[in-house]
C-alpha cells in the first residue's frame, strides 16, 4: 500500500525540516547519463524530496550494468529512462519525473536543461563529459553544474572529493582514474562519487555553496 502524498511529505518534513523540504520540493535537477553515477544520483535526489527530476540517457539496461547501477535483472532491455523512472516511482512516488531516451548533444541540450536549477553531469565517456560541461558553462552560465571525473578502479574511497572550480561549477571524483586504463568499476566507489554529486546538488539547492 503506497502512502498518501501528505503522509510521505510529513515523514520527510520530520526528517529534514520544513524549510529544506520546501526548497527541495520546489527545485528541479537534471541528471545527464543514467549509469552508475546518474542512477544513483537520481535515487538520492528523489529520496531527499527534490520535486522535479529531468533524466536523460540514450541507452538500455544491460546485464553488465547491474554491478553498480540502480536497475534490476528483470529490467534488462528496457530503456534506462523508463527503468529508472519506474524504480524512482517505487521509492518516491510523488516525484515529478521527466525522463527521456535521448542522446544529449550540443544541438539538443539547451531545451532539455533549461528548467533545471542544478545540472548533474553523469556520462561515462570523457569527451561527452567535456562536451556537456563546456556547453553548460558557456550557454547556461546561470545554472549550477555538478560534474564527475575519476571514480573507476578499486582505489581508496578517501581520494574521492568535491571541488568547487568556480562560482557555479563543481567537480567530484579522484581527478585521475580512467576506466579506459584501469578497466574496472565498483559499486561503492562509483556510488561514493555519485553521492558526492548528489550531496553537492542538495547543498546548492539548500543555499550552501561552499565545499
Amino acid at each position: 500500500m503506497i502512502p498518501a502524498k501528505e503522509e510521505m511529505l510529513a515523514a520527510l518534513k520530520e526528517r529534514i525540516g520544513g524549510d529544506l523540504l520546501e526548497k527541495f520540493q520546489s527545485s528541479a535537477a537534471a541528471v545527464c547519463g543514467l549509469g552508475g553515477l546518474g542512477s544513483n544520483i537520481a535515487v538520492s535526489l528523489a529520496r531527499a524530496g527534490v520535486g522535479r527530476l529531468f533524466l536523460y540517457d540514450f541507452d538500455d539496461v544491460d546485464v553488465t550494468n547491474l554491478n553498480r547501477q540502480q536497475y534490476k535483472a528483470s529490467q534488462i532491455g528496457m530503456s534506462k529512462a523508463d527503468a529508472l523512472r519506474e524504480n524512482l516511482l517505487e521509492i518516491a512516488p510523488y516525484t515529478e519525473i521527466i525522463s527521456q531516451k535521448v542522446k544529449i548533444t550540443e544541438d539538443n541540450a539547451l531545451p532539455l536543461l533549461k528548467d533545471a536549477d542544478v545540472i548533474c553531469e553523469a556520462f561515462d565517456k570523457a569527451e561527452s563529459k567535456a562536451m556537456l560541461c563546456n556547453l553548460v558553462l558557456e550557454k547556461l552560465p546561470e545554472k549550477y553544474l555538478v560534474a564527475a571525473s575519476g571514480l573507476s578502479g578499486l582505489g581508496t574511497g578517501n581520494s574521492i572529493l568535491t571541488r568547487r572550480v568556480s562560482e557555479r561549477f563543481y567537480i567530484c571524483g579522484d581527478g585521475e582514474s580512467d576506466v579506459d586504463t584501469c578497466g574496472t568499476l565498483f559499486a561503492p566507489r562509483v556510488c561514493l562519487c555519485a553521492s558526492h554529486q548528489a550531496l553537492a546538488a542538495l547543498r546548492i539547492l539548500a543555499g550552501l555553496y561552499d565545499v
Binding site: D124, A126, C133, E138, V165, S166, F169, I171, S177
Partner: protein, 64 residues
C-alpha cells in the same frame, strides 16, 4: 606568473592551447576557465594568458 590549478607557473604569454600541450592535456577532454569564465574550445588557440591570470583546467576521465 599565472596560477594554474592553484599553482604558480611561468606561463604568461602562452595561449591556452600551449598551456594544455605543455601539461599533456587532451584538449577534447577538458574544460578551461580563466578568471572564473569559460574559455570555449574554439578560442584555445587564440586566448593568451597573462601575469596574474587564474586558470582552472578540469580534466575529464572516463567512467560513470
Amino acid at each position: 606568473m599565472v596560477i594554474i590549478n592553484g599553482e604558480e607557473q611561468n606561463a604568461a604569454g602562452l595561449t591556452v592551447a600551449e598551456v594544455l600541450a605543455r601539461g599533456d592535456y587532451n584538449a577534447a577532454r577538458v574544460a578551461v576557465e580563466k578568471n572564473g569564465l569559460l574559455v570555449p574550445k574554439r578560442e584555445f588557440g587564440g586566448a593568451v594568458v597573462s601575469d596574474g591570470d587564474v586558470l582552472e583546467i578540469v580534466a575529464f576521465f572516463g567512467g560513470g
